[in-house]
Point group: none
Chain length 401, copies 2
Amino acid sequence: MDMHELTRELKTQNESKILLLVADGLGGLPQQPGGLTELETANTPHLDELAKRGVCGSSIPVKPGISPGSGPGHLGLFGYDPIQYTIGRGALEATGIGFELGEQDVAIRCNFCTLDNEGRIVDRRAGRIPSEESAPLAVRLRDVQIDGVEVFVEPVKEHRFVVVLRGPGLEGNVADTDPQATGVPRLKPQATDEGSRRTAEVAAEFVRQADQLLADQAKANGLTMRGFSGRPNLPSYEEVYGLRAAAVAVYPMYKGLAKLAGMQIVGQAQTLADQVDVVRAHWQEFDFFFVHFKYTDSTGEDGDFDAKVAQTEAFDAAIPGFMQLGPTVTIVTGDHSTPSMLASHSWHPVPTLLAAEHCRTDACERFGETECLRGGLGQFEAKYLMPLALANAGRLAKYGA
Amino acid sequence: MDMHELTRELKTQNESKILLLVADGLGGLPQQPGGLTELETANTPHLDELAKRGVCGSSIPVKPGISPGSGPGHLGLFGYDPIQYTIGRGALEATGIGFELGEQDVAIRCNFCTLDNEGRIVDRRAGRIPSEESAPLAVRLRDVQIDGVEVFVEPVKEHRFVVVLRGPGLEGNVADTDPQATGVPRLKPQATDEGSRRTAEVAAEFVRQADQLLADQAKANGLTMRGFSGRPNLPSYEEVYGLRAAAVAVYPMYKGLAKLAGMQIVGQAQTLADQVDVVRAHWQEFDFFFVHFKYTDSTGEDGDFDAKVAQTEAFDAAIPGFMQLGPTVTIVTGDHSTPSMLASHSWHPVPTLLAAEHCRTDACERFGETECLRGGLGQFEAKYLMPLALANAGRLAKYGA
């Protein structure tokens, strides 16, 4: 079921403002069975107040048991079914470094590798070459020239870089050239469908020229290509929800994901306080604001329970600044759980609250994993949050007569 | 959404053990409104302890309001969408008597019937002929000989028996020959698609020869055929989950259902204590164990509240034996509810618990229908239990980057 078939038909306009506050990796686990999670341990008076007057629940990012990456996690929150819509790995890598993909683009994750005299792979990651050495090599590869194709090469980190091929007739269905083994030659780029044959030819020509440009290198004298993918074709927020949407994020990945959904990136915020200021400065121009807070995830990924508690409290402290703007609908959630006990993304449902005048509040008194189990939103798939936001904003007409 | 598309892609291997304990028909109803169910009445200290340290919820076997038979009930628990995957009635009847269907088989539920001199049905069940009389007649029908087809005839009970036709080019889409009325002749086997024409011809020939073999009988001088069906084509546990799966069941039906999912039947258990021993004996060989306990269902079907309470307590008493093996993930659930007040399968959600180190426990203190409503698994379709089991076992990689 594509909810956008309904929202497209039912969407209406008014003066309401919707605020989606995403604390990345918000959900957690207790340090011992029966204990409190990071969110439950944190002192969060402002979130508790919102939970008390709002309606709470547990968001399942994709499906029960599935631990999502940032891509599917955010697609769900933005209301795009994260199974129906996928973002190829090349496209996500390009998005993550702030490269804005166009409709004629194919993005490719590339690794520098070490080849022997016979062209066999000796090291699949070029000895994990440091970024200071690899970035100039990626820039050197911008000298590759291919007729009818615009070539972009962007450094990422260590042995990783991104190539984007732009031109008519390029599609993304080309197999990886990394054989996932050493002592063997690289694979040739092979199209897996008719429409991607030109891409495979262009990729092969890129490799040929790149090998020449890297021939003088000891470690990084070759490259492999993975995750060929075009720009994911998401319908825009404007089209499916009738919302002028703004994204206020610090990291390129989340700006990129928002841009794929047709949101406009506003401001240059570096801190939560900056983010409050940016939202305030643009309050009249947009109907919807996506605010992304990274550090609840990164501290969870680090396995640092106390640091995640502290970042949760920092997030809480920013809430009044947002509330002073008087949003019609405020949602606080995460794109997935990142329990510090697991030091990774997990499948656990994410505590979620929605505050709005007619949200029909529940018995929840605080914001936390166990308390949210009593909430009026129940357990729900993340993709239903946007329809709920629109409904609470008075932006969805009646379905059927 | 077919969850197997995700589990196939994301499955990984480790040393974990998953234990699925199914108390058939576990869910119940109180004897009067506001009273306790069978499970809530039973003294179940070990299940309560698991519920306390695990995460609880209510499993919806198929969809809300749908009372499943054993087939769809178990398919859901095994993670096969019970609407997408169906087991034909002939195939289920064959499975229930322990007949192992092959890929070239078509199974048919047959009834002995009484025909008059003109071939019209006088009694659709041959006077409910007792099994002692009908079984030898079924065996007599093994004398039917049809070119190019292997014919199996197996007694079931009273007027019921099973015919399996085995051979190339046989498909299961043939209409029932029982006209569901007396005073009229039987219908001829009619194929409902091109691929099943040969099956219809073979079935007609079977009936012709069988009528001759039964001509001397007063009651059972004919037969009708229903529920033509091939072997259901389920992908295996190994393929969709990467699990080496064992089934420890007493009754042929549940062994058969497990075998259809690619599980290996182990041991010759007759009691719960035997089942503990069998699981222990095979603990190192398998990743997953399905243990089936029948008597919570059969006592419910008998409408015997007290007996169901007693069987629930017997089930509880076996829990420590299983726990001593140290499973990574333990699930306790049922394939459906069988309230003794209804003396039948019902649609009510089934109390369910999942215990594992990182399951994120909830506020549930006991194992019971009402308590499970507060649980962290919420209400969920049974088909999501297997992805949750895999996630808790650390056997699912992240979805998307």
